[in-house]
Amino acid sequence: MTRWLLPGFLFVGALATLILIVGPALYAISLSFYEQQSLTADPIWVGLNNYATVLGSAEFWNALGNGFFYAGVAILLQVVLGIGFALLLHQSFRGRTLLRGLAFLPYLLPTVVAVLTFKWMIDGSLGIVTILVDDLGLPPIYWFETESAAMMSVILVSVWLWTPFVTTTFLAGLQTVPVQLYEAARVDGAGPIRRFFHVTLPMLRPILTVIILLRGVWMFNKFDIIWLTTGGGPLGATEHLPVLAYRQAFTLFDIGNGAATATLSFLVLMVIVTLYFWLFPMDEKK
């Protein structure tokens, strides 16, 4: 029994992984080598043709660039804002526990709900934001009607929704930093800013490494928020790889190209994550 427990666990795990992930993933990748010619013909093997088509299209490169921009800016803002919030929430003041709870709430909302609420708040005539802006005598805000504004709006919703993850994780980390370290730094004459950069950040570097990795992967693959907010528009300005793949597979009914795009997106992410592991090894403590 004792001898077989671990191998047993691993066997069940391997089986589950095979059925749930490896199988479907390989199947999905295999679709990228086929093309459907007509309504009635069987799909035909076209080798790397779909990849050639996708890589030769301006849409793909546009989507790749948008994806980097969106994920990059969204993560940067989440981390900066999250750390700022965490530092504040680490102070002691009345109502701190309540505020810590409030600051986490956005993270609990389904994307659909967050997007609907956002759209309701910025509705061009009836939204509370529109009305407040008008009451202040300011010109109306066109949230989606230039290519850069649309991207910023999507990023804004993403940052609102997912910053709490960074805030809460970082805050939890802050609580593990020994107070003595700060005191020692204070005795050495370090101000709050120096203390942050010389004590807090180095201590929390492992946490940050993981946060950025997890959030980065998530943002790069996040489909529903862009799909529900802008659908990738206007004119492709917010279309990133997952939206492009979805559009190809499910609205243009071109499964082959959709699968090729998604596979390429996976490869790009794999390269980046491998690089990231190499730059910031996870097991530095060992």
């Binding site: 029994m1 999905a28 919030f85 504040l88 102070q91 709870g101 609907l116 793949a245 996976f266 794999m270």
Partner: protein, 280 residues
């Protein structure tokens, strides 16, 4: 104590509270607005949206419950989310524990493999999953949804718990085994209880993911009887008529159980984040 120092401290406190206020408004106002809108009469929403509703009405909730089979959808969502949590826990505990304690080559590969699995675009998995489940007659069942959700929650769970088990000294189990426990006994009686914060974290993530999922549900579920809450809300919204009050009522009802669960479990959650995954 000098007056200058006093003033400085006061200014410090004031800016602290100001910062706290900013965070509170920023985080909570949209949620407040969602809830407030759900209790507002349609007319007031359209013509006079003041910050605090003048009159409170339950009409939006009545409409919502009349138009959607909310109770059944709620039950469906609960079944799916709880089953997903359960299976995620069982599978990811087994894998993570096995990988942590088994002496073998290439452990790192399995763990990074899990991370790569997490990187696989979820939407791309939906297509083959539908075909595979269809071939064994399982589409349009709640079970098909559980399976789909597992493709995301399991890798994440393994990844989290691996970080957690890794930091747990092996001596604890050894001591228990010296005392006559079997390996399984040591695992159940020593390791698991110590891992509660990590387990709760994984459970919450799995629950959140499953409860809020729309994409997989859209692909897998066909009949009204098997719809989950997000799918039901989306069906009601449609594209043609927009009753913001009803939509906000539906949104509130989806979010509410999550808020309640969070309040009940937040202590574990924060502990889990500290002690487990994030230590890498």
């Amino acid at each position: 104590m000098s007056q200058a120092a006093d003033a400085k401290r006061l200014a410090g406190r004031a800016s602290l509270y100001f910062g706290a206020l900013v965070i509170a408004v920023y985080s909570a106002f949209p949620i407040y607005w969602m809830i407030a809108s759900s209790f507002r009469p349609a007319r007031e929403m359209l013509t006079n949206p003041s910050l605090i509703p003048h009159t409170i009405t339950f009409d939006n909730y009545h409409n919502l419950l009349a138009q959607t089979d909310y109770l059944r959808q709620f039950a469906n969502s609960s079944i799916v989310a709880l089953s997903t949590v359960l299976l995620t826990m069982v599978l990811s505990i087994m894998i993570a524990y096995g990988v942590t304690r088994q002496r073998m080559r290439g452990k790192q590969i399995i763990i990074s493999g899990m991370l790569y699995a997490y990187m696989f675009p979820p939407l791309l998995l939906a297509i083959p999953l539908f075909s595979m489940l269809n071939s064994i007659g399982l589409t349009d069942t709640l079970f098909s949804l559980v399976i789909s959700h597992l493709t995301i929650t399991m890798p994440l769970g393994v990844w989290f718990l691996w970080g957690f088990f890794k930091t747990m000294p092996f001596e604890l189990e050894e001591a228990a085994m010296v005392d006559g426990c079997s390996r399984l006994g040591a695992f159940l009686r020593v390791v698991l209880p110590l891992s509660v914060p990590g387990l709760v974290t994984v459970a919450i993530f799995a629950f959140l993911l499953s409860w809020t999922d729309y994409t997989f549900a859209l692909v897998m579920i066909g009949s009204d009887a098997n719809k989950t809450v997000p799918l039901g809300l989306a069906s009601m919204v449609g594209a043609f008529d927009l009753r913001w009050g009803d939509i906000m009522a539906g949104s509130t009802l989806i979010a509410l159980p999550l808020f309640v669960a969070f309040i009940a479990l937040s202590r574990y959650f924060v502990q889990g984040l500290t002690a487990g995954a994030v230590k890498g």
